[in-house]
């Protein structure tokens, strides 16, 4: 769904992009699939409202959509709500960017250098199956402030994914490209900059997108466990304080925030890998 939404925007010029976008929108609106999707979402919302009104077990315990909307209307006027957004976003992007700054070069290095990979990679292999959240207490113990430990956990979530994806990407490059570059007279240096680096870019982008998803999951949980700011805490506070509609407002905000950050990564990624454009 989102692929279609972003693909027209990385077109060539501005004018055709506009046309493309409108064309796709029009096509969307005229397709049966689109209306079926709308119908099912509307039906789901009505069903949820019904369950909440009539106290159906399990689903009925979830606050009704009408209550959630009312609560959302209150929340968006509060500075606290927007501060929570800002706090979470700052954490996400600090952790994420540090992970890229360290992870991308390290991944490239490990991918290009066999000896280094064979020495360091087992450490990654061992740490990978440990769920990132299990690091929360260790990182709280280690770092002097809660904020730093939170960023560290965020960092970890994105870091492993990025490094593993780049190494995977480089080691699976078709040997023909490297041979072709050598026979065209490239030096080792050229091979790295002109073959290995661009060829691994798609896997960098994939790693970043997946890493962003994990990052949000980690931050939300870490905020619930270990701080008192951010969207994760907002959601948790809704539960603790008994203001249940806020839980759903929080979840929706986290979903939206996560979606926006992934869309951003995909957009930037598409800019860097123009040869992958399908349409």
């Amino acid at each position: 769904m989102h692929d279609n939404a972003t693909s027209p925007s990385h077109g060539e010029g501005l004018a055709p992009v506009e046309n493309d976008f409108i064309r796709i929108l029009k096509k969307r609106a005229s397709s049966v699939a689109f209306w079926r999707g709308i119908a099912s979402i509307v039906a789901f919302t009505l069903f949820w409202e019904f369950c909440a009104r009539f106290h159906v077990p399990v689903i009925g315990n979830v606050p009704a959509p009408s209550e959630v909307l009312a609560s959302l209307a209150v929340q968006i006027k509060l500075a606290y709500y927007w501060l929570s957004w800002a706090d979470s976003m700052i954490r996400i992007f600090t952790g994420f960017i540090i992970a890229q700054i360290i992870g991308v070069p390290l991944g490239l290095f490990l991918g290009a250098n066999n000896k280094a990979r064979e020495t360091l990679f087992p450490i990654f292999e061992i740490m990978r199956p440990v769920p990132p959240l299990a690091w929360v207490p260790v990182s709280v113990i280690f770092w002097p402030s809660a904020e730093m430990s939170m960023i560290f956990v965020t960092f970890l979530g994105a870091f492993f994914t990025v490094v593993l994806n780049i190494v995977e990407g480089i080691t699976s490059i078709d040997i023909r490209y490297i041979r072709a570059a050598y026979s065209l007279g490239s030096t080792k240096r050229d091979i790295f900059w002109r073959v290995l680096l661009p060829a691994s870019l798609p896997s960098v982008v994939v790693g970043m997108t997946v890493g962003m998803g994990i990052t949000w999951a980690v931050v939300v949980a870490a905020e619930m466990i270990a701080t008192n700011t951010g969207l994760g805490f907002l959601t948790w506070r809704g539960y603790v304080a008994g203001e249940y509609p806020i839980i759903v407002v929080g979840m929706m905000s986290i979903g939206l925030a996560g979606y926006l950050s992934s869309a951003l990564i995909r957009y930037v990624g598409a800019k860097f890998t123009p040869w992958l454009k399908t349409r």
Partner: protein, 303 residues
């Protein structure tokens, strides 16, 4: 010479050239092949580099935490302290190889993951297959999935506690959610990645819609389903830890959090390593089951 062989072949058997007799590959050679591979591996530098890397990591951990006691590191439990506790018959904090409690935590976590994972697989795989088979069904369900998916499963923690009576059900539900989405999406992806040719070939050979489902869609999507199951197993452990940390009374995630609050730091490391080991084992099991079901993939890889 070449002319001769071709000419002979052409009039040899009634129809076609005699096919080169190709017996199915013998299983016995596999073991020897493994031995040869092992020999090569041991001669290459890679096992020694692997060991060097791991040893270096342990040494770094040991030096920073227990010998040099660097500023931030000194608060962390070191490798010897952890190992002492883990192997002790009378552990200081009650968790070691020789205490029943350790296995209780492990058992409860595994049981929760098992229930959630089984439920997610039993629901997710058929739904995914069905979405790939019937376009109308996909039109109705896929947008719903897309709307719910960006919400990280951990944001479901409070809602899941609210929805379900009792902690046990809410933790299992949370773990289920994590695996469910990954399973459905990968199964759907699997069906959609089947080459159109196979559908056409099956239809052309007279297979009915139902036969196409069981003979083309299911086996064709299997490789993706199993990749999806491995990913979803990862998510299951991921969300289990979160659920147990926030709401558990037992389990490895609870153990980690509880040890933190009680300042029993070595136990945190023990629980983390245990989680890692069990997590890898569970995805290994899925891989083995997948190999068993997909002989054609295994033999393809052996070529």
């Amino acid at each position: 010479m070449t002319t001769d062989t071709v000419a002979n072949g052409a009039k040899g058997v009634s129809v076609g050239l005699p096919g080169a007799p190709q017996a199915p590959q013998k299983q016995t050679s596999d073991f020897r092949l493994t031995l040869i591979r092992l020999k090569f591996w041991l001669k290459s530098p890679s096992p020694y580099l692997n060991i060097l890397g791991l040893a270096g990591f342990l040494l770094f951990w040991y030096l920073t935490t227990e010998v040099l006691k660097l500023p931030l590191f000194e608060k962390l439990p070191g490798p010897t302290a952890t190992l002492d506790e883990w192997l002790s018959h009378d552990p200081m904090f009650g968790i070691s190889f020789f205490t029943l409690e350790y296995y209780q935590h492990i058992g409860i976590s595994i049981w929760r993951v098992f229930q959630a994972f089984a439920l997610a697989t039993m629901l997710g795989v058929p739904i995914g297959l069905f979405m790939g088979w019937k376009k109308t069904f996909k039109d109705y369900t896929f947008p719903l999935l897309e709307v719910l998916r960006p919400i990280p499963m951990l944001a479901w923690v409070p809602l899941s506690i609210l929805m379900w009576p009792g902690r046990e059900a809410s933790i299992v539900f949370l773990t289920f959610l994590g695996s469910f989405f990954a399973t459905v999406l990968n199964t759907l992806l699997g069906v959609e990645s089947i080459d159109e040719c196979y559908f056409r070939a099956a239809a052309s050979l007279g297979a009915s819609e139902k036969q196409i489902f069981s003979k083309v869609i299911v086996p064709g999507a299997l490789p993706f389903i199993f990749t999806g199951l491995q990913i979803s197993m990862g998510y299951a452990w991921f969300s289990l830890v979160a659920g147990e940390m926030l709401a558990g009374e037992f389990g490895l995630g609870y153990l980690i959090w509880n040890s933190y609050t009680l300042v029993q730091y070595p136990v945190i490391i023990i629980a983390m390593i245990t989680l890692g080991v069990i997590g890898s084992l569970s995805s290994l099991i899925i891989r083995l089951v997948g190999d068993k079901l997909m002989q054609w993939k295994v033999r393809e890889a052996a070529q």
